[in-house]
């Protein structure tokens, strides 16, 4: 029994040591840092939500050497930010792999001085694809049953076999999520090339409301989305939408749930028409907007 535990422990330590070359620390103000993945010899990937709004960064690479990096792009939709190193590093090759609920996951972070920090937990949940509140599509919903320090966010997560599962990310109530390797593979090349990920934009803030009883028959549905605010000069404002309108449908997709209408605003929607059916002052109106690219935030 003791042997088995020792073996388990030394295997984990060996794996951590072998993979620590994939973690780097990005310096923040006041002695703090956040973790990042050395994705390719000259490319570093980090958690967008925690990365300061800057163009140039100072990194502490594995082993403790300092490195400079420039921002290549960021995408709040998938929480991915990409930096380009001024001097190439020599990270281990990350072999992407799959996981399932109940499997072990090893989450690595950078300690800020060139060393590594490690966390072990179960894959609490391994579900299907999901949309973030910022509209990005994440290939799988992976939740880990472990705690993560603020400075450890953005590091790589591995399976027991050493396969690369993705980047650790703090979710609501400090839940630890993984942005899957498949999502990184999809988004990082776009960010390196374009600096951002284009998404369709209507320029409205929507809140679900119940359609008043008297209008339910006319509307043909029990709920819609009330326009709480409009972006000045945005597509919806140009189409004549005003605050207080209740959107019933967008291009025949009923506005009964956010995910249904979010599907209408993928990158290929830019330039296309959004046919909006709305209730205003008890009357049904049809207005056409032209979907634009979401402006940088």
């Amino acid at each position: 029994m003791t042997e088995l535990l020792e073996q388990f422990s030394s295997e984990l330590a060996a794996r951590t040591a072998a993979l620590q070359g994939a973690t780097a620390a990005i310096r923040r103000a006041r002695e703090r840092h956040l973790s990042a993945i050395v994705w390719r010899p000259d490319v570093v990937v980090a958690s967008e939500q925690s990365l300061p709004e800057r163009d140039e960064f100072e990194l502490v690479m594995p082993g403790g050497t300092q490195a400079a990096a420039k921002l290549a792009g960021r995408d709040p939709g998938t929480n991915i930010a990409v930096l380009r190193l001024s001097q190439p590093a020599s990270p281990p090759v990350l072999v992407p792999g799959e996981t399932q609920a109940g499997a072990l996951a090893l989450a690595l972070g950078a300690d800020g001085t060139g060393g590594v920090s490690a966390r072990l937990g179960l894959v609490n949940l391994a579900g299907t694809q999901w949309h973030s509140v910022a509209g990005g599509l994440i290939d799988r919903r992976i939740v880990l049953d472990l705690r993560l320090g603020r400075a450890e966010e953005g590091g790589p997560v591995f399976s027991a076999a050493g396969a690369f599962l993705g980047m650790s990310t703090l979710g609501p109530r400090a839940r630890v999520l993984v942005i899957p390797a498949a999502t990184l593979e999809r988004i990082v090349p776009i960010l390196l090339k374009e600096g951002r990920v284009a998404r369709g934009w209507l320029g409205v803030a929507l809140h679900p409301v119940a359609v008043p009883d008297a209008l339910r028959e006319t509307a043909g549905q029990a709920s819609g989305m009330m326009v709480m605010s409009l972006a000045e000069g945005g597509p919806a404002a140009k189409a004549g939408i005003v605050a207080g309108d209740i959107v019933l449908s967008v291009n025949d997709a009923a506005a009964s749930g956010f995910r249904r209408i979010a599907g209408q605003f993928a990158a290929d929607s830019i330039g296309r028409k959004a046919a909006l059916r709305v209730i205003r002052g008890g009357n049904l109106l049809s207005l056409d907007a032209v979907i634009e690219a979401r402006p940088p935030t």
Binding site: H131, A262, F265
Partner: protein, 135 residues
């Protein structure tokens, strides 16, 4: 059974409140001193650390079941309650009868699971923040 008075050692809880705004920080510090407490300066001295920088985390797009949604009129009444108006004042503002206002307020409290108007306003704000999506 009667309560037996016991010698209880004074319970000391040191809370560090991390406030980013220097003006608010100074106001808070003065309040702590005025209340007869001793301000602490470093996280090392505190048993608990609170922060005004809420880290919301990377969240999924919210989805609702279609149940318990407010009607546009209920949202208006909720806004008026938030402005501190009485039922009578709300009736005047929205040009409806006080009886109808009372009906809406009762429906709002029920949907929010709130007992008081203040609780309803607080819960509604939270609900609105987590259920508004920009497209």
């Amino acid at each position: 059974m009667s309560a037996v008075p016991q010698a209880v050692p004074a319970l000391v809880i040191r809370v560090l409140v991390h406030v980013t705004d220097p003006v608010r920080r100074e106001v808070l510090r003065q309040l702590v001193i005025d209340a007869g407490h001793l301000p602490v300066d470093s996280p090392m001295d505190a048993d608990a650390v609170l922060s005004d920088q809420v880290h919301a985390g990377f969240a999924a797009m919210p989805e609702h079941s279609g149940q318990g949604l407010f009607t546009p009129r209920e949202l208006e009444v909720l806004g008026a309650i938030g402005d501190g108006l009485t039922n009578k004042m709300i009736a005047r503002r929205l040009e409806i009868s006080p009886h109808t206002v009372k009906f809406h307020v009762e429906s709002l409290l029920r949907k929010l699971g709130a007992r008081t108007r203040a609780e309803a306003v607080a819960k509604a704000r939270e609900h609105r923040l987590s259920n508004t999506v920009e497209l």
